[in-house]
């Protein structure tokens, strides 16, 4: 595919627009979903079904004054929200929505997404440290130890899949599962019988990486007020908020591409972008459902889960797959 400069710009703008639109409207979806679960209507005043609520919230956040607390590290304080949002948007560039809809396909797409995902932890650390708030620092320490310990099993699981397919290109990864749901990585194959477990590990890690409940220890509001963004108001808070939802979309997209066959139809018919969107929004609905059902875990429970259960199992899966790949 030859890529002129104009094409590239258009593609990147579309990717950014998709990320921003998703971030805004997932907030609406989350609040409506929470309303359903809690037997209340949720936002329903502004526009039909409350659909004008996200722009209203955006205007409100943008018109508020940005307050920088005294004694805060100004540079870090200002950089952190941008650092939370920018990598999330950048990751969209490499995600293939279908065989032809992709901003820029590259052969190390998986690696790039994980590199950008790691920067999210940096943003949280900057925010907590820079705002000079004890709650913020505690939350930042929690969030960073959390993202470090959950990146390990996540990456090991991804390595297993990369080993099976022999490519790090997201497009190739999705294409290798086309044809029908029996080809998906979700289901056990001859060379890797533990794939459903790997999917579960990856799903839990995605929840933890995106700081979603029940792993939202970075913003555990009953203990740490609002966690790392306690001191943020205005659009600084808004960017953190949008970054979180953009990360959720990326997490869901990555899960879809790695395990659920990307844009392939479960029965091999009419593959296309609609299947991809259907799959990611189903996953996001599951995220929302989980958030409004479960209480929060403890920080040591969370770290124990990663180091004592998820990492050994994913390592075992890696070794098993490596061995079986040699045999078959």
């Amino acid at each position: 595919m030859s890529l002129t400069l104009l094409n590239a710009v258009v593609a990147v703008v579309i990717a950014i627009g998709f990320a921003a639109l998703n971030a805004a409207y997932l907030v609406w979806a989350e609040r409506r979903g929470a309303g359903r679960i809690q037997r209340r209507p949720g936002p329903n005043v502004n526009g039909p079904f409350g659909l004008l609520q996200p722009p209203a919230d955006g205007i409100k956040l943008m018109t508020k004054q940005l307050m920088i607390p005294g004694g805060a590290d100004k540079a870090l304080f200002m950089v952190a929200p941008v650092l939370a949002m920018a990598p999330a948007i950048m990751s969209f560039v490499t995600i293939p929505f279908s065989g032809s809809i992709v901003a820029h396909s590259m052969n190390i797409g998986v690696l790039m997404i994980f590199a950008f995902a790691s920067m999210g932890g940096l943003a949280i650390l900057f925010a907590g440290w820079g705002s000079r708030n004890k709650y913020g620092v505690m939350a930042a320490v929690r969030a960073v130890s959390q993202s470090i310990s959950y990146e390990v099993p996540m990456l090991i699981t991804v390595i297993t899949i990369v080993m099976m397919t022999g490519t790090m290109d997201l497009k190739e990864l999705a294409l290798s599962q086309s044809g029908g749901f029996w080809n998906w990585n979700l289901f056990p194959s001859l060379s890797s019988p533990l794939m459903p477990v790997a999917f579960l590990i990856f799903f839990v890690c995605t929840l933890a990486e995106t700081n979603r409940a029940p792993f939202d220890l970075g913003e555990a509001e009953s203990e740490l007020v609002a966690g790392f963004h306690t001191e943020y108001g205005s659009m600084g808070f808004g960017l953190f908020f949008m970054g979180e939802y953009a990360n959720i979309v990326i997490g869901a997209s990555l899960t879809t591409i790695l395990f659920l066959g990307g844009w392939g139809c479960p029965f091999g018919l009419f593959p296309g972008v609609w299947w991809f969107l259907l799959k990611i929004y189903l996953l996001i609905a599951t995220f929302i459902w989980i958030r409004w059902t479960f209480p929060r875990t403890t920080i040591y429970g969370l770290l124990n889960l990663s180091w004592k259960i998820l990492i050994p199992i994913s390592l075992f899966n890696l070794l098993l797959t490596a061995g079986l790949l040699k045999v078959f």
């Binding site: 037997r39 505690m138 875990t297 429970g301």
Partner: protein, 372 residues
């Protein structure tokens, strides 16, 4: 994770939890000496919402103090006004008609259920689960509607009078209460499935926040907190008052001493309260709700009077020292949460802040009642 740790004092920092903090549900302030996530030492600071109810009790006549009592605890207000009217009735020797006593018992128990329901929701919200709060509030709404219909207010009731009640209950109330009992029983089963069986919930509470029976005795803790530590004490059984001896109900006691035990005590207590309401509605006698003979001006004879009642939070006591005038000479309130809360300082040492605040939730604190 609750093993005590020893660190040098120069490695710690001070964290102010409160007076404005989402976990304290009010204006309680806890000064915590922290080592990272661990609490080295905690000190609760009170007085942010002190309103001098005891002094008001000495400056006003007995009926004038009546509304004050429901401002102590906005979640279980009827229990506190019940204590006050019982104390004054005992002091002034006023007879209460049987129907009034039954209605008092029914309404107090309804209020206890409402208080426990709200605590259940707020406690699970402390642990990070938001949905149970909405479910609990929906059930509590039925109780508030019922009580509003007969008392005229939704939270700070002034329903009891010396000698009886302000207002008789009607058939609508009885029908609503009878319909509510099976409804709540169904809900309690649902809560059990949604919350009690949840693995994250159990892991956060089992064995966390231990409060021993000795500690309860040392600080004078009562109510569900003491009963979760294996102390079988309930004023309704041990020092019976009103018509409670006529009812058949159990006192749930758990010996695990952890946050989960306190949770279970309250959930079981709701079922026992429903039993009392059921029996009360069945046995409800006909008759007047105010005595025929009642002194116009209440002037208890000289003496020292004490009355304890079991409120939703524990044993609430009123001491009235009368010098024979229309005002009390001394008006002392013994509020249960005040004693329950002071265990927090000692119990949370060496705990992580998450577990400590989960334990604080399990103590069921209502701050205006601590400060009075």
């Amino acid at each position: 994770m609750s093993a005590p740790i020893h660190i040098r004092p120069d490695e710690t920092f001070t964290l102010n939890v409160g007076p404005q903090h989402p976990a304290t549900h009010g204006v309680l302030r806890v000064k915590m000496e922290m080592d990272g996530e661990y609490i080295v030492k905690a000190e609760t600071v009170l007085g942010y919402i002190h309103r001098m109810h005891e002094l008001m009790g000495e400056n006003r006549t007995y009926p004038q103090v009546l509304p004050n009592l429901s401002r102590l605890d906005y979640l279980g207000a009827l229990g506190y006004t019940h204590g006050h009217v019982l104390a004054v009735e005992r002091a002034a020797g006023i007879e209460v008609p049987e129907r009034a006593e039954y209605i008092r018992a029914i309404t107090v128990e309804l209020n206890r259920v409402a208080s426990h329901l709200f605590w259940f929701g707020a406690f699970v919200m402390d642990l990070g689960g938001f949905t149970p709060l909405m479910y609990a509030i929906e059930d509590r709404e039925y109780i508030l509607d019922m009580l509003e219909a007969i008392t005229g207010s939704r939270l700070t009731y002034c329903y009891y009078r010396f000698g009886g009640l302000y207002n008789d209950i009607d058939d609508d109330f009885i029908a609503a209460a009878k319909a509510f009992i099976p409804r709540l029983r169904k809900s309690l089963k649902k809560y059990d499935g949604l919350v009690t069986g949840n693995i994250i919930f159990r892991k956060r509470l089992e064995g966390i926040g231990p409060i021993s029976a000795e500690m309860c005795r040392k600080y004078g803790a009562t109510g569900p907190v003491a009963r979760g530590s294996g102390i079988d004490f309930d004023v309704r059984k041990n020092e019976p008052y009103s018509v409670y001896p006529e009812f058949d109900f159990d006192i749930p006691v758990y010996h695990e001493c952890d946050s989960l035990a306190r949770y279970k005590v309250r959930m079981d207590e709701m079922e026992q309260s429903l039993r009392i309401i059921e029996q009360g509605l069945e046995k409800l006698p006909d008759g007047p709700i105010m005595p025929k003979k009642k002194p116009k001006l209440i002037k208890p004879p000289k003496g020292d009077y004490y009355q304890a009642v079991e409120t939703a939070r524990g044993s609430f006591g009123i001491r009235i020292v009368s010098d024979g005038t229309k005002n009390a000479y001394r008006f002392k309130l013994r509020s249960p949460t005040y004693s329950n809360m002071h265990m927090f300082d000692e119990a949370c040492e060496g705990m992580m802040i998450m577990d400590a605040l989960a334990m604080m939730g399990s103590l069921d604190l209502v701050i205006p009642e601590i400060d009075r």
